[in-house]
Symmetry: C2
Subunit: 383 residues, 2 copies
């Protein structure tokens, strides 16, 4: 490997920037663990609240810790008036992630102890951020639809309360559990651009809100969040499983990219895709529209695996998650915000992990510009 002080490490691909005990991705084995626990087990048995605690604290909570933590989360669900008023000022046409970015930044302005930069203080802020981001996300959606935000119901679980604030009616237990699993699955995954954005910002020992505001702004980008939204656009355009062969001919002749298939790290099934596919299948059994989209996705998955065997184009987390969200009545515009709501747990856990051995990120650019040249006064320049 070349010397990174001489050669440019574009995108820092493969470069180690920190040690971590939070999550581990085994791309060849298709295994994702949070703090040593397999994502399949967590999806089957845990809750998002517990997973957020696990990521932050390193161990599963005891029953009393669990009870205390859910009480704290519930206590911070309601939005401060300042944040709600800021949300009301923002144009409805704005990108929902831009609105969340602004609202979280405004939320930071309301915290009079925001400048306390310690692990203990950041853990307190992290819990509040996990609580708030769902409320902010749901309110942003409702305001964009010309509807009034709905106050949280702290008696509900986190996922159920989010669906309640989003749709204005209490979700079924099944729907709430499905969103709960989705939140578990998206809570952490190495150091992608959003997490790294937060780490770089936080490394100047600025407040946690600044770092999270950056992470939201990064996740917003099309190279990062938002792939599941584009998967659905493609599946809708294809229309049915019967149209997949024709679509594949188009893909092959025009060398189109099929969204949601293939992954930089996973060279087999993304374990989260397995979880989402299973859920999508159960939802398809109850709804003919979802069934048609699901059948299209299955056919396209098979066609791509057959056509590009050497490329290992297995489904990633984005491939079936959009179908699942749609089956819960969630608009595609909210897919990336839900990713942000879930990832808040991982972002904050990683920022807190980096803090005790913090080192400010200060890389270099390789100068390839002009040598020293003399200034010409404005009047003497060519017109």
């Amino acid at each position: 490997m070349a010397d990174p002080t001489q050669e440019i490490f574009r995108g820092l691909e493969g470069v180690l920037v920190a040690t971590t005990k939070i999550s581990k991705v085994d791309g060849l084995g298709g295994v994702l663990t949070y703090r040593g626990y397999d994502i399949h087990e967590l999806a089957a048995e845990s809750t998002f609240e517990e997973t957020a605690w696990l990521l932050a604290e390193g161990e599963l909570p005891t029953p009393s810790q669990y009870a205390a933590m859910t009480r704290t989360l519930a206590a911070h669900l309601a939005m401060p008036d300042t944040v709600l008023e800021v949300l009301r000022q923002l144009p409805r046409t704005a990108h929902p992630m831009a609105i969340m970015r602004t609202a979280i930044s405004a939320y930071g302005c309301t915290d009079t102890s925001a400048e306390e930069i310690t692990v203990e203080a950041w853990k307190r802020v992290a819990t509040r951020l996990v609580a708030q981001i769902g409320t902010i996300g749901a309110a942003a959606w409702r305001l964009s639809q010309g509807a009034e935000p709905i106050a949280p119901d702290p008696s509900l679980g986190y996922a159920a309360n989010f669906l309640y604030m989003l749709h204005g009616k209490r979700p079924t237990e099944a729907a709430a559990r499905i969103l709960d699993i989705a939140l578990i699955c998206h809570a952490d995954h190495g150091i992608p651009a959003s997490t790294f954005s937060g780490m770089v910002v936080g490394s100047s020992l600025t407040d946690l809100y600044s770092a999270i505001t950056a992470a939201i702004g990064s996740l917003k980008g099309p190279l990062h969040g938002g792939a599941n939204e584009r998967v659905l656009v493609d599946l809708d355009r294809i229309g049915s499983a019967a149209n997949v062969p024709a679509y594949m001919r188009e893909v092959q002749s025009k060398k189109l990219k099929v969204m949601g298939l293939g992954h930089r790290v996973y060279k087999t099934w993304d374990p989260r895709a397995i979880i989402f596919k299973k859920i999508a299948e159960t939802r398809a059994a109850k709804d003919p529209d979802i069934a048609r989209t699901f059948a299209t996705a299955v056919a396209l998955e098979k066609a791509c695996l057959d056509a590009y065997a050497e490329k290992q184009l297995y489904p990633n987390v984005d491939y079936y998650s959009g179908i699942v969200y749609r089956s819960l009545g969630i608009d595609a515009k909210m897919f990336t915000p839900i990713f942000a709501i879930s990832r808040m747990a991982g972002w904050t856990a990683r920022l807190i992990e980096y803090l005790p051995n913090n080192r400010i990120f200060r890389p270099r650019g390789k100068y390839e510009g002009y040598d020293l040249r003399a200034y010409t006064p404005l009047a003497k320049r060519r017109i």
Copy 2:
């Protein structure tokens, strides 16, 4: 140099992440150039408006380009109602940088073409951001003082208009020119954490406002912006040049850090410090309070160079700039915001420079956590 895929590059110290033609820092020679022009020449002959153009476009503007650019800047000075209303909602107690972070994020929400990710679109946005950040900074300050924001006067130059919006009266030509030079001096300096924060966020091809919001949040941190504010606190505490010897004994016995002296890159005078020292001297000649602080600074500078000869503790940009700002009647709380206002030129120029060969930043963490372990249901955990 070690292999960055095996060994952790803490803080990415010395690691090259991009090529650049924007600014060059020669730490041994004490030379800073923007696009090949020496900072001394720019400080003597250029304006902030011209410097911002130079950083973005690579060449000094022709007379007609200069005229067009100042017209465009002037046209975007006024704050949209949305941004002003958001500012009014935020608590006066909030950190001015947190307020600017929120206001710029809100400003992004008002741009219906924010998602246009091209060099041309970003150049348009960059000009607006340079125009707005001064207006936002001045308004944030006035609101924090319980005063009404003052609408910009587009007939004034950028620096003069900022002082006008800040203090509510037109500055002298000398004062405006001093701030103009200060803005030129802070406009770019390699890839510090704030600039890198913006680049990492921008690398997901999100909007420019998201990237700049991140940069502001990063600059806010005490390891980055804000050193000149702390220099003044120290100088005020020392009180006079006569007290410097006693203070030096304290510094040496308690191994205190003297703020504003020494620099990671410059092993001689920071060229910007030379510029600020000269200005501070002229200001000291007119004001006995400034004269006392300046004399204290000069004595402390000399004492530290004598006491720590081997450490090369030459003044950096922060050492005399606080004295200069104070001589303009600017409160210390506004020092970092003014840094942000100036650096907006560099941040946007570097983000635009990175865009055509964009590569998303996705480093790795070295996993040192638990191996796979089995999940224990909540009821079976120790209480």
